[in-house]
């Protein structure tokens, strides 16, 4: 797993680099946009951590280059800009995620793990909590080592919840992940799937947030 950090503020960059190294990531750091462009083309990293406010060029231009060259690099934008339009512009240009400064290391690591899993890296494809282990590469779930038999939608639902442990998932966002546009969705579809999942999982594994959605709480 190769990470490239493009950040002009050395104080912040050094902090990120040491936090990431401790978490087991191999990370390179560049302070200028021009150098980053050269590096990106020569040796595309798996994940690019990109600051938008660079002194020599706009970070969004680097993002454009990544997408134009069709690199497989996942891009996580780190920025001090937080207005909605900036966020939309970044995501529209193909950023995979967006993190506003100042952020917690845990938050950064959690986002990186999601990106890592998207890359299909075997070592990080298993999310486990309590007795439940979800393998995103093999699309399998096991409880205390015993494989669980889940339907495709139940698996997707559990994956959505377990990829975001400790974060409430709204019913709308779960529906959007489970069903594509135009699908006929029964009004209580999500409730039915949750009901079935609960029968197969430990009692309080999935918590209901009334009127909002569901969450797999942190241990």
């Amino acid at each position: 797993m190769q990470l490239l950090l493009v950040e002009d503020d050395s104080l912040l960059a050094e902090g990120i680099v040491s936090a990431l190294k401790r978490a087991g990531f191999a990370v390179n750091w560049l302070a200028s946009g021009k150098a980053a462009c050269t590096y990106l083309v020569a040796e595309p990293p798996d994940i690019l951590l990109l600051d938008l406010g660079l002194p020599d060029m706009d970070g969004l231009d680097i993002l454009k280059i990544v997408r134009q060259k069709k690199l497989r690099t996942q891009v996580l934008i780190l920025t001090a800009r937080d207005s909605t339009t900036d966020k939309v512009a970044g995501l529209d240009l193909g950023a995979d995620d967006y993190l506003t400064k100042p952020f917690a290391v845990d938050e950064l690591l959690a986002r990186l793990r999601v990106l890592e899993r998207r890359l299909g890296n075997a070592s990080s494809s298993i999310i486990s909590l309590h007795e439940v282990a979800l393998n995103t590469a093999q699309h399998q779930v096991s409880l205390a080592g015993e494989p669980l038999n889940l339907s495709r939608r139940e698996y997707m639902l559990l994956k959505a919840l377990m990829e975001n442990i400790g974060v409430i998932q709204t019913r709308e966002s779960l529906e959007a992940k489970l069903y594509s546009w135009g699908d006929e969705v029964a009004s209580n579809a999500i409730e039915v799937h949750i009901h079935n999942l609960r029968k197969k999982l430990p009692g309080d594994f999935i918590r209901t947030i009334r009127g909002i959605g569901y969450m797999v709480p942190k241990p």
Binding site: L11, L12, R81, F103, V105, G166, I168, R171, A176, N188
Partner: protein
Amino acid sequence: MKSIRRFLVILMVAIVTLANFAAALRGYLASMDEAERLFNQRLLQQVDLLNYALPKGAAAGKPLEFPARTINAESSLEFQWLDNNGALLARSAAMPDSALVPLQEGFRYFNFNNYRWHVLVMPSSDKQSWYILAERDDQRYRLAESMILQAVFPMIIALPLLALIMWWVTGIGLRPVAHLASELRQREATDLRPVAQQDMPEELTQLTQSANELLRRLEASFAREKRFSGDAAHELRTPLAALKIHCENLLQELQPVPESVIKLQLGIERMSYLVEQILLLNRTAPDHFMGQFAPVNLTRLAKHCVVDYSAVLAQKNHQIEFNGDECWVLGDAAALASLLNNLLGNAIKYTPPNGMIAVNTWLRGRDVVLEVMDNGPGIPVEQQARVFDRFYRLGGDRHNSQTPGCGLGLSIVQQVVELHGAQIALTQSRFAQGLLVMVTFTALAAPRPAITSPSEFNKLDPSDAGESDEKNN
């Protein structure tokens, strides 16, 4: 206040009056001279008449008798008829028996019988006798004056009429100024477009140009200020991010963790929070709010805000729930999000662990009511008005410092409320105790997109989901 119109009219009326007065004075003096000449001429004609009319052979010692005067004219003519020796031949009733003045030919003035008289002394045509004709000066004067005043009088009547016309005409003349003033007055505070210059009289083009220049500079300075808040955000957030990450690294690297590092982390968190709140306060200030209003799904936004607080909610083990209808309002999503975040953040922060929090959006006729309710300590009624003040915190300096905050949250909330023309009310929570904040917006009909995404396709009743699930448990 000074008025150009009033000033012009008063000044012009004054000038016209003065000019009229000067002209009248000049005319009066000239007319008096002319009248004098005419009256003197008349006396000479009367001497002619006497030459014809008086009988020959009148002798001194037995003057002619005349009948009493029958015409009572304004101006009376008196006369004496004397022989060459000064003996009286005839006289009018008001005249004395002896010669009024010495017998020298010509005009002169003479005071007699309490009046001043114009006297003409002339020899008769046969040089045998003298005529003395006298007219009272005051009568003559009054006659002349009344004739002249008749000519001046209409001018005095015309003055007020003239003033009225001038008032009306200057009003027409100043109409472009009034137009410009009303155009500027009717503008929104944020409307900094230049004033249209076509059809502008040349006296006003300079002013309009200056005003436009001023508006342009103002707009530039607003843009600069907005850029500044963005720059400031960047400048402050980046070092804060560096501090935060180094502090977290320290926490990982030092075992056991020194108390100071934990305090340091708390301090950094408080500072980050304060910086964010000040930036939000600045960004939502109605004076330089630059956002664009668009339809916003308030219900979805509220749920997203709850999602963002997932970690803190779990940490304090609060029960949170949402109830209500799907509501749309016209507004700025970022500003509304900061309103929700602050209300929800307060509820989470000030409610003791294991508390209950409810967020609701209700459609009530043409209103949308957003409710954020908790079962925390609430706000005493007497302090409810003050909590919107900047940097005000309940209990002042004695505020429980265990709950970090800076006293800006409700100021931001109020600014966003003002920005959207909404109303905010603080009341008693429907839980056993606590605070209920109600924000009332004007409802907007939900926009109907041409293609519906699955999430919008299913209009779920949010309340039944939780209940059915609880039955399943």
